[in-house]
């Protein structure tokens, strides 16, 4: 199996005396493309969100965003859902990664099965779990069969906010644990076997080995997984709309509704800027919080 970081870290040693323009020529198309379709729209998002129709600076799109009925709910739900979903994903992903790392017979197939949700979109995942949680869904049928209920429970309704939340959390854990897991598996494979052998020699077992050897060495991988997963959590949108419509507003969903429903690109851009700023703050926060003394060992 390919070790993740190895390809990028070990370029073929091609010694060259003079400045070679060839690599820059090869990178040029990427740089041009990303400038037009990546850097420019990011700047444009900020411009749209602070420009009034006459071209002057204004904060009124942000004020309109904050004053919107759905805004507070969207901020609360995006934060709360991230706070519930991400720890569950990290714990489950860590468990799967450690299972894969025991290298039991068939561990490769187990890894592929666990990676399947990587190929499933947020929208499709929402629809998959809709078929389970809906009134005439599989869960109600199971409860009926078990004799717990005789009339279907409306899990996905306005009256059942806890069930609605639970359905979203379950769907997100099902869909997006795979990305965390793949990053952690790749991180585990980077740890030289010597560390574990040394731990064995000194008689470390089970929990102690996990706590004092594996986890500290996995810090870079955990950090990456947390950053990527948190940023993606603020993109959460189609899953929620598939399961709950607008009963549970979220930030990215509001950007969508502001643009598609109200035809208001400026307020939609304000949401985009808010999501972008949140993502940047989170990245910096994780990098600072998780920078420990042990980190150097692993790099």
């Amino acid at each position: 199996m390919t070790v993740a970081e190895q390809p990028l870290d070990s370029p073929a040693p091609v010694a060259r005396a003079r400045v070679d323009w060839l690599p820059y020529a090869l990178l040029a198309p990427t740089l041009v493309f990303l400038t037009v379709f990546f850097v420019y729209p990011m700047i444009q998002a900020v411009v749209l969100s602070v420009r009034d129709p006459s071209g002057g600076l204004t904060l009124r799109h942000f004020q309109a965003m904050v004053a919107d009925t759905y805004f507070r709910g969207a901020v609360r739900n995006s934060l709360l859902l991230s706070a519930i979903v991400i720890p569950l994903q990290v714990i489950l992903a860590l468990a799967i990664a450690l299972l894969v790392n025991t290298r039991f017979r068939g561990h490769q197939w187990f890894l592929y099965v666990c990676a399947i949700p990587l190929g499933i979109s947020d929208l499709a995942a929402g629809l998959v779990w809709l078929s389970i949680f809906t009134d005439r869904g599989t869960l109600n049928m199971l409860l009926l069969w078990l004799g717990v209920i005789d009339q279907p429970i409306a899990f996905l309704s306005f009256e059942e906010p806890v069930w609605l939340y639970a359905a979203i959390v379950v769907t997100e854990v099902w869909r997006a644990t795979a990305i965390v897991m793949v990053i952690l598996v790749a991180g585990l494979q980077l740890i030289p076997k010597d560390y574990f052998e040394t731990a064995d020699v000194f008689g470390a077992t089970g929990w102690r080995k996990l706590r004092y050897v594996t986890l500290p060495l996995m810090r870079p991988a955990l950090q990456t997984a947390l950053i990527i997963r948190t940023i993606l959590a603020f993109q959460l949108f189609a899953t929620v709309i598939a399961l709950a419509g607008r009963i549970v507003p979220v930030l990215a969903g509001e950007a969508y509704f502001q643009y598609s429903l109200y035809r208001n690109p400026s307020v939609a851009s304000a949401y985009a800027v808010l999501i972008m700023a949140t993502s940047m703050v989170i990245t910096v926060a994780y990098l600072r919080l998780l920078r420990g003394r042990e980190a150097e060992i692993a790099t």
């Binding site: 990028l8 198309p29 990427t30 493309f33 190929g119 499709a124 709309i241």
Partner: protein
């Protein structure tokens, strides 16, 4: 803990996780093969009785679905072509050369992986209206390419690292030019890896919802059409189940095909 108990616990955990991942997929498949009237019955059987393609046929015959599927395929193919043509040279450069700015470029690529469609789509929609790209398949393909490029570069870098430069050098000493050596020696060896990059790009484009929804109005891709039907048009439940099933089938096949590259694509650690 005894060795036998450990093995039993391991087997239990592996079975549990496997069931957790696979069960929902099986359940939506079952729902998709249940007749429409059965889906709304209470109580209804979880196993279709009778098995039927009525629900799937209803979905496929619904207004615009086949056309949107076609649009999705066109966008995906355009995205693959753009991502490979633009990304592969960059991947080749990263695998073969040490040059000033290499690390900065690598970091920029990792950074672009992290700021996806939600931020880009709205401002680009405004620009696309001016540029005449709004509501076009090419416009959607451009955004998907921006999202796919970092992955295309990462996977092509690892592919070309696996092709020894000595082979190209040997070809050059035998009279090939730089380009010819690449085309006739490195490229054929790298083809399977490039195919994996192409397939991954397909999944990314096929699954992308947000940008496609924002950037199209009539020229919907499949996720954009379904998103609209679910989000504002109030599609019936059977349409939703069939749509969910129909959208995940290609992804299931494809993940199995590119499974060797999963860790390379996603498992990159930021240092």
């Amino acid at each position: 803990m005894s060795a036998a108990a450990r093995r039993a616990l391991l087997a239990l955990a592996v079975t549990g996780v496997t069931a957790w991942v696979l069960a929902p997929i099986v359940l939506i498949a079952l729902a998709s093969f249940t007749t429409r009237s059965q889906l709304y019955a209470w109580p209804r059987s979880v196993i279709p009785d009778p098995w039927s393609v009525e629900t799937l046929r209803f979905f496929l015959q619904a207004q615009g679905v086949l056309q949107a599927t076609w649009h999705s395929l066109v966008v995906a193919i355009l995205t693959i072509a753009l991502a490979i043509v633009i990304g592969a040279p960059a991947g080749y450069a990263l695998s073969r050369f040490r040059f000033a700015g290499r690390e900065a470029f690598r970091l920029a690529i990792l950074g672009t992986k992290m700021f996806p469609a939600t931020i880009l789509a709205v401002p680009l929609a405004v620009s696309f209206i001016q540029w005449g790209l709004y509501d076009t398949l090419l416009g959607v393909a451009f955004v998907h390419t921006a999202l796919a490029l970092p992955f295309a570069i990462i996977i092509t870098t690892s592919v070309f690292v696996g092709v020894p430069f000595e082979l190209e050098e040997a070809a050059m000493t035998l009279g090939c030019g730089r380009l010819q050596a690449f085309l006739r020696v490195a490229l054929p060896i790298a083809l399977p890896g490039l195919a994996a990059a192409a397939i991954f790009t397909f999944v990314l484009s096929w699954n992308e919802v947000f940008a496609a929804t924002i950037l199209t109005l009539r020229t919907r891709t499949l996720p954009a059409l379904v998103m609209n039907a679910v989000g504002s048009a109030g599609a019936p439940a059977d349409f939703r189940f069939a749509a969910g099933f129909f959208m995940i089938v290609p992804a299931l096949i494809i993940i199995m095909v590119i499974r060797r590259y999963l860790l390379t694509l996603w498992g990159v650690t930021v240092r």
